[in-house]
Amino acid sequence: MKNFIKPFFAIIIAVVIYSVFFKFSIILPQIINVFSLVVIYFALIKGEVFGACLGAFCGLVQDSFSLGVFGVAGIAKTITGFLAGYISKRIDVGPFVRNFLFIFILICLELTLWSFLYFFIFSERINTKNGLIFLQPLVTGLLGSTLFHLIQIIQKKEKY
């Protein structure tokens, strides 16, 4: 049970940030994928199975905030969460640059998967919001690696 409290609160925080972003600007939620950051962070800590399960749940939460087929973002995030946990067990993604590249590639993959599924189901291309969505891997990657790095520093300080 203890294992699920932190991720659950992380999802609640992601929903809060997501709502605040919308309140300030409709651009921010398009370039920062907070739900994916939650999935990747916990997949790094707890492994691929947890990443996949959390990815499925976060994806469904994201889907519930959008009109259309419930489960599309869920599938994309499940695979992202699984891969995040799987790869991080084999490659050290701790250093800042490597962490950034890792998140960048995962978000690119997630977007590709999501747009493929969207096209497969709706027979239409995703709305790129004037190309804004292509900035998502870069901005989310930068923000994610900075955040993860900060968390690492804080945790190290707490240890000593």
Binding site: V49, S64, V69, T78
Partner: protein, 278 residues
Amino acid sequence: MLNSLKKRKNLLILAALIFFQLVLVSFQVPLNGEESLFEKIIISLFCPVQHGVISISQQVKRNWRRYFYLRDVNIQNEELNKEIFFLRQENRILKNLLLEFGNKKEVQERLEKTYENILPCRVISMDASNYYKSVIVNKGISNGVKKNMIVVDKHGNLVGHIIEPISFREARVQLITDNSCGVSVFSHEKKILGILTGDGKGQCILKYILVTEENINNGDKILTSGFDEIFPPEINVGKVTSIKSTAGLFKEIEVKPYFDFRELDKLAIIKINLKDNF
């Protein structure tokens, strides 16, 4: 066998998760089916969080404006007083006109009924996949919101209609800019009928106007016709911005909706056809 299954346990879990979601997806195809109970539960679980965020931000904003940020308040006050003066005059004239249809008490009762059926609401979330498709508002079943009630902006322009899932305190609004939304409309000038759908990019398309039709021009006002039995007649929708003749049967007509995405903060849900009141 058992050993190989144990080794592949992680992959099996992944496959099971994907399979579960594929089943979820397949239940919703063909599109526009009923929302699953699972989706309703998730939306009911997380919408209150958004509700809270919006309430807190509104409170902070209100306090900031009320006690700290008082620049231009005097100018704004003068402008609002002026607007109130003209609105009062307009209101008096309209009430006098209404008195021609009945006595004062009757008109007052009808007006009160009208006020009761206009439900102001706030947007608490926009569509995560495409913000031109839908929004979530902070009124739900507890406020008497039902499926297909129409939603207008603060100027009375059509924004969309309520669709499922509707939770206790929140409801989803399908915008007219969504490409799966259809509204029966007509052009105000020459009363030409058509179907308006969204293009998913913030604009609308007026469909089924024959290429031979010459009575439709740029700048023509588009209003709801009421034939779809969802949207009441004569609500402002938008205006024609471009007309292209094609090799096919119908023209390609682009309509710019009157509502502004930047002002989508405050909306109103109309519970009944207000014209039925008068």
